[in-house]
Amino acid sequence: MADRLFASFLLIVTLAYAYIAWTLIQAPFQYDPLGPESWPRILAGAAIPCILYILWRPDAEPFAVTKYTWFRIALMVVLLFAYAELYEPLGFIISTILFGSIVALTLGAPRLGALAFGLGVGVFGYLLCFTLMGLNLPEGETVEAALEFFRGDAE
């Protein structure tokens, strides 16, 4: 069932892919026998039979994911999106402390352990990457503003 659903989805995508290859992709002029549209056409031509085969004969494996697992996966994806969203505004340190602690907590770490983990990775990770390895990580607008404020104060 899951196989068929996924294959149907792939079929739609591949048909759209093929449609674009046959109608939209065109070189204004070309000297070569194969233009930019030929290769996508070949690929679509090879993929569609494969997908049809899966639709015709799906593997019998049931998609065994419990509701609870779905929930956990969904929660993880939401947390990841939140982490991505806050990465630049909050900066690496704060967003990592939050993300690390919350994920560790939701996955069943003890409270103090989770907090220590988040703090440790956030702060040491930043120091390690930024100072030692010279990698470019977001400082964070809020942090920057705060630093600016204190610096302004000192002057």
């Binding site: 899951a2 196989d3 996924f6 792939l10 892919y17 674009i20 992709i25 070189a27 204004p28 070309q30 070569d32 026998p33 194969l34 930019p36 030929s38 290769w39 996508p40 690929l43 679509a44 090879a46 993929a47 494969c50 997908i51 899966i54 593997d59 494996e61 998609f63 994911v65 697992t69 956990r72 996966i73 993880m76 994806v77 990841l80 999106f81 982490y83 991505a84 969203e85 990465y87 690496f92 990592t96 993300f99 690390g100 994920v103 560790a104 996955l107 069943g108 770490a109 352990g113 989770a114 988040g118 990775v121 990770g125 990457c129 390895m133 010279g134 990698l135 470019n136 990580l137 977001p138």
Partner: protein, 502 residues
């Protein structure tokens, strides 16, 4: 022979540079660590650490030496969790659990670990020696390859991939096609026509290789860990004082030698890596053992432990051969390494050994050193790695995400890509759930432009006549091999079934 010796000396002068030497050590250590963590195999480890290694702005040969060390170390470290926890790090370590874990249960964990370390060392070394001998030879043959030959070679690569990897041939093929289709996104280099960009400027240059790799492997692996999350921590067996004796190794010499050769040959075959090699070596050894001894396989037979370990490390080395000499990776992990080479503007292929000897030979020399380093690191420090096994998953999982984010952000510096890797992670998780293997996808993605360009070039040469593809003997032989590699297993299994029925 002279060329090989002078090449090796160039290589060693690169690899013995103190900084590169340090990187080999660091890479091997990190790799062993990643390999030892249950559930994290070499491919995921290399995928997660690749962007970080790239972001460090090392010269290409140094970064590649580091990555190769990680790759190598991870193949090495996989046995630790297999033996002590009965949890293989990835498919290639599955065979190691069969006899390794029973040995540890019997109180011979130390012996099992040290035996497998020595077997891995011998397998790895044999592979590197063979690579030194045959790599340049293969390269010199491949220099004469025409675009049409390359097309045939690709067909062969995808055929052996489809027939030997994964459960379903059709799914493997479809996976490779998905990869190839992803690779067509972006501006067509020959004509400048945008394809599948939908007017989005970020897509004009195509989807970044790093994003695909980190998304499909790192992030999908993370979701897999969340799904599989085991309650409580895994129990690791203690490492005891038992140790491998020289007499054991001498007794195992033919096993190790055979398995190393099998591993190397399977590793060289495009598309098939360590997992197939270790399974074949184990099966061969079991068949050769005779009916009496075969019964003890799976209950802690030391031959059953040494064979897959020698084979998977030999395959890890063997998979580097087509990657370096033909530009066609021998496995999923080497596909990632190939992508890494391309990111450094190094085009692997037959000319690599002559045009960029410091990279090709430096990598080979670093593998000699890495092998020795791994043996030295692994024998005394195995207790330390064993303790790391018990890192609970609730810390490991967020750590993977954090490392992936650091890697992608430092390279691309664009927060949109953080969303993209997460989305690709979800896609990869679905593919995995539906028993698509992900290695073909990445292989297709990496080989996409090479495949297309050679096909177009071949047809330009012939003026549009498709007959050029089957015109010379090299191509024909490759097509016949491709045909054989797909249909021989089907035919053999039919015959076996008929024999069983009769």
């Amino acid at each position: 022979m002279d060329a090989i010796l002078s090449g090796l000396s160039t290589g060693f002068s690169v690899a013995l540079d103190p900084f590169n030497l340090l990187l080999v050590m660091v890479g091997c250590f990190l790799g062993t660590l990643i390999g030892a963590l249950p559930g994290l195999g070499p491919i995921n480890g290399v995928a997660i650490l690749l962007p970080i290694a790239y972001g460090l702005n090392f010269p290409p040969e140094s970064a590649l030496i580091l990555l190769a060390g990680i790759y190598y170390g991870a193949e090495y470290g996989g046995r630790i969790s297999s033996i002590l926890l009965n949890v293989p790090g990835d498919a290639s370590a599955v065979m190691t659990t069969l006899d390794g874990h029973p040995m540890a249960l019997r109180g011979e964990a130390g012996k099992a670990l040290s035996t497998s370390a020595v077997a891995s060392f011998i397998g790895g070394t044999i592979a590197v020696v063979l690579m030194t001998l045959f790599g340049p030879l293969l390269a010199s043959v491949a220099v004469g390859f025409s675009p049409a030959n390359y097309v045939a070679l690709m067909v062969f690569a995808f055929a052996s991939l489809a027939s030997l990897v994964g459960k379903s041939t059709v799914k493997t093929l479809l996976g490779a096609l998905i990869g190839l289709m992803l690779a067509t996104i972006g501006i067509d280099a020959n004509t400048g026509v945008p394809r599948y960009t939908f007017g989005i400027p970020d897509l004009l240059a195509g989807i970044d290789f790093l994003i695909v790799v980190v998304g499909l492997f790192g992030m999908a692996e993370l979701l897999h860990l969340v799904e599989q999350q085991v309650k409580g921590t895994l129990k690791s067996l203690p490492v005891d004082k038992s140790f491998v004796q020289a007499a054991d190794i001498i007794k195992l010499r033919w096993t190790i030698l055979r398995s190393s050769l099998i591993g190397f040959i399977i590793g060289v075959l495009p598309g098939t890596g360590a997992s197939v090699a270790s399974a074949v070596a184990y099966g061969t050894e079991k068949r050769l053992a005779g009916p009496e001894e075969a019964k003890s396989f799976g209950t802690g037979n030391i031959r059953g432990l040494a064979a897959p370990e020698a084979a998977n490390n030999a395959a890890a080395g063997g998979a580097m051969v087509p990657m370096l000499t033909l530009g066609i990776p021998g496995s999923g992990t080497t596909a990632i390494l190939l992508g890494a080479l391309l990111m450094f503007n190094v085009q692997p292929g037959p000319l690599l050994f002559t045009q960029k000897p410091e990279i090709a030979w430096g990598l080979v020399a670093s593998m000699y050193i890495g092998n020795v380093a791994l043996l030295v690191i692994n024998l005394p420090l195995v207790g330390l790695f064993a303790r790391l096994l018990t890192i609970p998953h609730h810390y490991l999982t967020p750590l993977i995400a954090i490392l992936a984010f650091i890697g992608i952000y430092t390279i691309v510096g664009n927060p949109h890509d953080l969303f993209l890797i997460t989305a690709l992670g979800v896609f990869g998780w679905f593919l995995r759930k539906l028993e698509f293997s992900l290695a073909p996808v990445i292989l297709g993605f990496v080989l996409g432009s090479l495949f297309e360009n050679n096909l177009r070039r071949a047809l330009s040469i012939s003026g549009g006549d498709w007959a050029i593809l089957t015109e010379d003997w090299t191509s024909l032989v490759l097509y016949i091999l491709a045909f054989a590699v797909v249909f021989a297993p089907i035919w053999l299994s039919r015959r076996a079934r008929r024999a069983a029925a009769a």
